[in-house]
């Protein structure tokens, strides 16, 4: 072998290789980072048309939180195959832990505990609760597993609707409780490095800081967007690392063939409980972040069966068993919802049509009602109806979801890995002019085949 050929195979230094491996991640993160600024620019340029199509940064903030929750749901349901139908329990624990902690109602925890500490503590509590639930539930499988987790969550939901402890001051527990008491503005969730004041920001949208590290954004929603987004990103990467670790491999093995995983010698029970606890941890983080945005926790927004239900919908639309899929699923769902709302909350189809269509069309009557009235009645505010239809269509015709389909198109490997390899090939073309630097692909395709489903 000549010296030239040897030179050709010299590997990149690891930072370059790392950047290449995560090219798609970096690109997606950059798009998210730029989004709130791009939104303003586009709305300035295209006015109502842009407002109609693009979800508001406000909505995106909610997408982050619910997307993280759906990811944690997917983490256990999509990768181990055990449908965690009561996942809302962990969301609720995270949310109520922050509210109660902030209101000084938790026994050992001192009042005025920093928000991030409450978030972490709540997540640990949720993980421990998952351990207890898991010890009972993982003796079962299939429908029975789904039902026992659902049953436990429903018990929590019923209790939370009637338990006075959750709502100090004689209000109805079913209507929920607010962090910071009567005045929502008193609630100051700080995200940043603890105990170093300049590195912290109050991320309460509408009431919080408008600058990070001295950089002025002029809008507390953008600050919240960036910092909550950062937390979600960290959570995503932690989960992504776990999925790609030997632990994650065993999770996938359990999904594909639990008997065989057992026969190989893995104690699948421990792995399942471990996965369940990790999912609960991140589900609770999402719950805590919900409080950042909403400021209040109520049984219907945290512990209700449909909270899990819509996470499931988002997961299927995005792709079950693709970690980032649920986030994109939620972007899709919330976009549909916002597309069909009135002007007051972000613009939508109806305000746009009202501007574009001539008056004669809007006031034309079909079967006794005007076109505008029909839109009012059957379109605006009924995003969930259309989302339901879209969901049914997805289950029937795109059962692997958006990311799952993309993955299949790319030849059964994760999207990130495929992009990384293509870039590698391109760069090899540039430097050598030959296409022969395909990396040893066996391990990759094998691993990729495991993940696509």
């Amino acid at each position: 072998m000549s010296a030239d050929a040897a030179h050709q195979y010299e590997p990149d230094s690891w930072p370059v290789q790392y950047l290449q491996d995560h090219a798609i991640h970096i690109a997606v993160v950059l798009v998210f980072l730029a989004y709130p600024f791009a939104y303003d620019v586009l709305v300035d340029l295209f006015a109502l048309t842009a407002e109609m199509i693009l979800p508001e940064p406000d909505t995106m903030l909610m997408v982050f939180v619910l997307g993280l929750f759906a990811m944690s749901f997917d983490f256990v349901s999509g990768y181990t195959g055990y449908l965690s139908f009561g996942h809302a329990a962990f969301f609720g624990i995270g949310a109520y832990f922050v509210v109660l902690g902030y209101n000084g109602q938790l026994p050992i925890v001192p009042a005025e505990f920093p928000f991030l500490a409450l978030l972490l503590l709540g997540a640990v509590v949720a993980a421990l609760f998952a351990l207890l639930v898991g010890l009972l539930a993982f003796r079962l499988s299939g429908v029975y597993f789904a039902m026992i987790t659902l049953g436990i969550t429903e018990i929590m939901y019923v209790i939370s609707q009637h338990w006075d402890y959750l709502t100090p001051g004689n209000s109805d527990p079913a209507t929920g409780t607010t962090a910071g008491g009567a005045n929502l503005a008193d609630f100051e969730p700080m995200i940043g490095i603890p105990f170093i004041d300049p590195l912290n920001a109050n991320v309460h949208p509408g009431f919080g800081d408008t600058s990070i590290l001295g950089i002025e954004f002029g809008d507390s929603v953008i600050v919240a967007y960036l910092l909550v987004g950062l937390l979600v990103l960290i959570c995503y990467f932690l989960m992504q690392r776990i999925i790609h670790s030997p632990f994650g491999r065993v999770m996938i093995a359990i999904r594909e063939n639990e008997e065989r995983a057992k026969a190989i010698g893995y104690n699948v029970f421990y792995y399942k409980i471990g996965a369940f606890m990790i999912a609960a941890f991140f589900g609770a983080v999402a719950g805590a972040l919900l409080i950042v945005i909403e400021g209040t926790a109520s049984p219907d927004t945290t512990l209700f069966f449909l909270v899990t239900g819509f996470a499931l919908v988002a997961t299927i639309i995005g792709g079950l068993g693709t970690l980032a899929g649920p986030l994109f699923g939620y972007i899709f769902l919330e976009s549909v919802n916002e597309f069909l709302t009135r002007e007051a909350s972000g613009g939508g189809l109806q305000p746009w049509l009202q501007e574009v269509l001539p008056e004669s069309v809007l006031t034309a009557t079909i079967g006794g009602i005007t076109v505008d009235g029909a839109m009012d009645a059957f379109m605006t505010g009924h995003g969930e109806f259309y989302a339901g239809i879209i969901f049914v269509v997805f289950v029937l015709y795109v059962p692997v979801g958006m990311l799952g389909t993309l993955r299949l198109r790319l030849g059964s490997e994760t999207v990130a890995r495929s992009v990384s390899r293509r870039i590698g090939r391109l760069r090899a073309d540039d430097t050598t002019g030959e296409v022969d630097t395909d990396p040893p692909a066996e391990t990759e395709t094998e691993a990729g085949a495991d993940e696509s489903d």
């Binding site: 449908l83 499988s141 429908v143 049953g151 919908v313 009924h382 109806f385 029937l396 059962p399």
Partner: protein, 342 residues
């Protein structure tokens, strides 16, 4: 308050046991509730037993049944009618709703559910869940548009009950036992449902096919049974029963005609089907009785002030589910391996 047990709890229970009137009232209420639960759950158990499809749209069918029945009753019943005529109209509405919902079920089975038999069971859960969301939102749209119940889709629409329930079905007393005639009527319907389904399964040709299909689908196919058509018939019958249950719930004061009825019905129905054992009709009957009785006891405990916790019945129902899954995951009469996969 969280459940707090009064120190006099034991004494209260003794009071109950030593008062034949109270015991009988609780028993009658228990049977009435059990009948409603049986009507709610039996459609679900039929569909699951044969097809392994967990029909999440079941509650939505019941909710549609309730709304259609409420609309029909309000339209047909006039104040001058005697109670016997109203009962006849009620039975007519029951049949109409059964037929309509069975037709709807047939459409869903043929166009949607059928496509997914080859998929893992989770996809049928997903599909029927999607159907539920869509059906619920559609009804919400109609309720708001037609301004039914002042457009309030989430509140109890009480006027069908207030305006059409004959006063003859009200309170009644026999010897020392207090009950309502509506409860007796519900028990009658519950018994009819149980006998009817038993007869369908054991005395009709399709019942035979159904049992053969449950036992061994491959073999049934090999022997020339059209399993596909049997699936359709069972899905239609199950949907029809779900709708018919909605008709009865329309009159019952403890339930309501509202859009959230779909979920209110769905979750207890799941509990009963699982507690009884997936796919076992006998189990469903026994579980309905169990849940109905415990529900009635919970109501009694609350009304007499033994326990001050308003969510008690729901709490008990889901506790039964969890305890049963821990002790005996297959349910009371479940078959090994049923529902295990996925």
């Amino acid at each position: 308050m969280i459940p707090t047990v009064d120190p006099l709890f034991v004494g209260d229970v003794l009071d109950l046991l030593t008062s034949p009137g109270d015991v009988s009232s609780v028993l009658i209420e228990g049977f009435a509730k059990a009948s409603l639960y049986l009507m709610i759950a039996s459609g679900l158990t039929l569909i699951f037993g044969l097809m392994d499809v967990i029909n999440f749209a079941h509650g939505a069918f019941t909710m549609y049944g309730a709304y259609i029945a409420a609309g029909l009753m309000l339209g047909l019943v006039t104040a001058s009618m005697g109670w016997a005529t109203v009962m006849l109209v009620f039975l007519f509405v029951l049949v109409v709703v059964f037929a309509l919902l069975a037709a709807l079920g047939t459409i869903f089975e043929v166009t949607l559910v059928r496509k997914l038999y080859e998929y893992p069971p989770i996809y049928q859960i997903l599909l029927t869940f999607g159907i539920t969301i869509t059906m619920e939102q559609f009804m919400r749209m109609i309720v708001e548009f037609r301004d039914i119940n002042n457009g309030q889709w989430n509140l109890d629409w009480a006027s069908p009950r207030r305006q059409t329930l004959p006063s003859e079905l009200g309170d009644s007393e026999l010897l020392f036992v207090e009950f309502t005639n509506l409860q007796l009527f519900e028990i009658l319907l519950g018994v009819l449902t149980a006998v009817g389904i038993w007869a369908f399964l054991n005395r009709t040709r399709y019942g035979l096919f159904v049992r053969a299909g449950v036992e061994d689908e491959e073999m049934a196919k090999a022997l020339g049974i059209n399993v596909q058509r049997t699936f359709t018939v069972v899905f239609a019958v199950g949907s029809g029963i779900a709708g018919a249950a909605g008709v009865v719930l329309m009159w019952d004061p403890l339930w309501s005609v509202s859009v959230p009825l779909a979920l209110d019905v769905l979750l207890p129905a799941f509990v009963i089907v699982i507690v009884g054992g997936l796919g076992s009709f006998k189990g469903t009957v026994v579980a309905s009785l169990l849940v109905g009785m415990i529900d009635a006891l919970g109501t009694w405990a609350f009304t007499t002030g033994v326990i001050e916790f308003t969510g008690l019945e729901e709490l008990m129902i889901f506790s039964i589910l969890v305890v049963m899954l821990i002790l005996q995951p297959r349910g009371l009469f479940g078959v090994e391996g049923q529902g295990d996969h996925g």
